[in-house]
């Protein structure tokens, strides 16, 4: 079984500043993927960044980067140069490599970017 925990229900950040969202997970799988998804008010779930657990190098996508600590089962998301369009719910998620579409989501963190 897999579980994903996000301990920060709400966060805020000033525009152009940096913010880090926390996530911890638990899984019995040896090979798995970790994700951060963004859900704006439009409700569409958008993939922000993906990390293969077997890769030690932290994934980056433009202003978004992760800090993947496999032994600690921690997977935090750093957003640099925050923009107003980053305001959304952010979900940390995990899926086993053998059941890729069976994604387990955390409860989410509501991020507000303040002008």
């Amino acid at each position: 079984a897999q579980t994903v925990t996000q301990s920060q229900p709400e966060m805020s950040v000033q525009e152009a500043e940096t913010v880090t969202l926390s996530c911890t997970y638990d899984t019995s799988e040896s090979n798995y993927y970790l994700f951060w998804y963004k859900q704006p008010p439009s409700r569409q779930m958008i993939l922000v960044i993906r990390q293969e657990a077997y890769k030690q190098q932290n994934a980056t996508e433009n202003r978004f980067s992760v800090n993947f600590q496999k032994a600690a089962k921690s997977f935090s998301l750093k957003i640099s140069d925050s923009q107003l369009g980053d305001t959304a719910m952010y979900f940390c998620a995990c899926s086993p490599q053998t059941s890729y579409d069976k994604v387990i989501f955390g409860p989410g963190t509501s991020l507000s970017v303040i002008p």
Partner: protein, 114 residues
């Protein structure tokens, strides 16, 4: 290039009724998954369809059933609706079963059960 489309956008039903939600996958995708997102929570996996068969299922009762058509579109059916079935239902598509192609989500159907 059309993304994942879901219909209807909103739906109101009464307890005990049955409902059908529809999903058209992104062009080129052949696998469809359904998720239930209760208010204030993360989505929960319901099931996945590939080659017109249910391949994986989450912890949902048999009242939740689905279908995939030859054109890869899919339906989610819920029988004997309960108040607790009120949620946003998300459809996601991908290419290739057990492949690691990214999931693409639709905008969801908001179901309210009164």
């Amino acid at each position: 290039d059309a993304g994942v489309t879901q219909s209807p956008t909103h739906l109101i039903k009464t307890r005990g009724q049955q409902v059908t939600l529809r999903c058209s996958p992104k062009s080129g995708h052949d696998t469809v998954s359904w998720y239930q997102q209760a208010l204030g929570q993360g989505p929960q996996f319901i099931f996945q369809y590939y080659e017109e068969e249910e391949r994986q299922r989450g912890n949902f009762p048999d009242r939740f059933s689905g279908h995939q058509f030859p054109n890869y579109s899919s339906e989610l059916n819920v029988n004997a609706l309960l108040l607790g079935d009120s949620a946003l239902y998300l459809c996601a598509s991908s290419f290739g079963y057990v492949d690691n192609s990214p999931l693409h989500f639709g905008n969801g159907t908001r179901l309210t059960v009164t």
